[in-house]
Point group: C2
């Protein structure tokens, strides 16, 4: 009961938030985009387009994979999501657009967010400053996660 109620509240909040965002950017608010965005916000595992597609399909059975790709591209264009590549050729999508880094398991490919303020803020080495204008620090710590260590 409580869960349902909370879920309802969350959905409402998400919908409102999303509407605002779409309005402010002039993105047309469609059912499929809303559901894709909702799935993304819920996802904590940095899903691929295919992952997102199969999750959204449960809610919107007629949706096509192309729509997912297009919606994600649109979201990325407006800074609503971050697209990145890690250990394989599949793009991953991250609804967390604030600076943060990733812990990547080389066994199960699970990706977890983490912060490392010292690296985030450390002043750049001179080679980097001379190379050009740095806009972003992309850091992955790769290894074997606890779950996979147990096996």
């Amino acid at each position: 009961m409580d869960n349902n109620h909370d879920a309802g509240q969350d959905s409402q909040k998400i919908l409102e938030e999303f509407k605002k965002i779409c309005e402010s950017f002039g993105i047309k608010l469609t059912y499929q985009r809303l559901e894709i965005y909702r799935i993304l916000l819920e996802a904590k595992d940095h899903p691929s387009a295919e992952d997102i597609f199969s999750r959204v399909q449960k809610k919107v059975p007629t949706i096509s994979l192309d729509t997912v790709y297009r919606a994600l591209a649109t979201f990325e264009k407006f800074g609503l999501v971050r697209k990145f590549y890690s250990l394989d050729e599949k793009a991953r999508f991250d609804p967390n657009v604030f600076p943060h880094f990733h812990l990547v398991c080389i066994k199960c490919h699970k990706i977890t967010d983490f912060q490392w303020p010292e690296v985030e803020k450390k002043s750049l080495p001179s080679v980097a400053r001379e190379w050009g204008e740095i806009k972003e620090r992309y850091l992955e710590l790769r290894g074997v996660c606890k779950d996979c260590l147990k096996k």
Copy 2:
């Protein structure tokens, strides 16, 4: 003249080195592998499989792209090269297997090696230590390189 002579010496060295490596790992030494490896050692730009293919083709016109893919996979398996993904779904290959980081231009996608010992050696944050066993630090500084800034 001098250049030719030096190139000859280099090739000789590379060949000897590569032979040793192949022997020690039990990799069969073929002409195509040798040329692929040579191109890789010469390359400073983190080429894709396709890039490597078109360079090797000049020397070995009958080589196929599949062979390049297979050779690179073999090299990677034995730790002779590093495979990684950056801004797009194309794998890049790096003959430098020692710890180092990358400067990545978001305009021209050029990738340059650099060192940042302070980050390389800094002790991991506790979240990371609790997450599992970290094996590698993968860092990219992304921005616009000097050449692209001029345009």
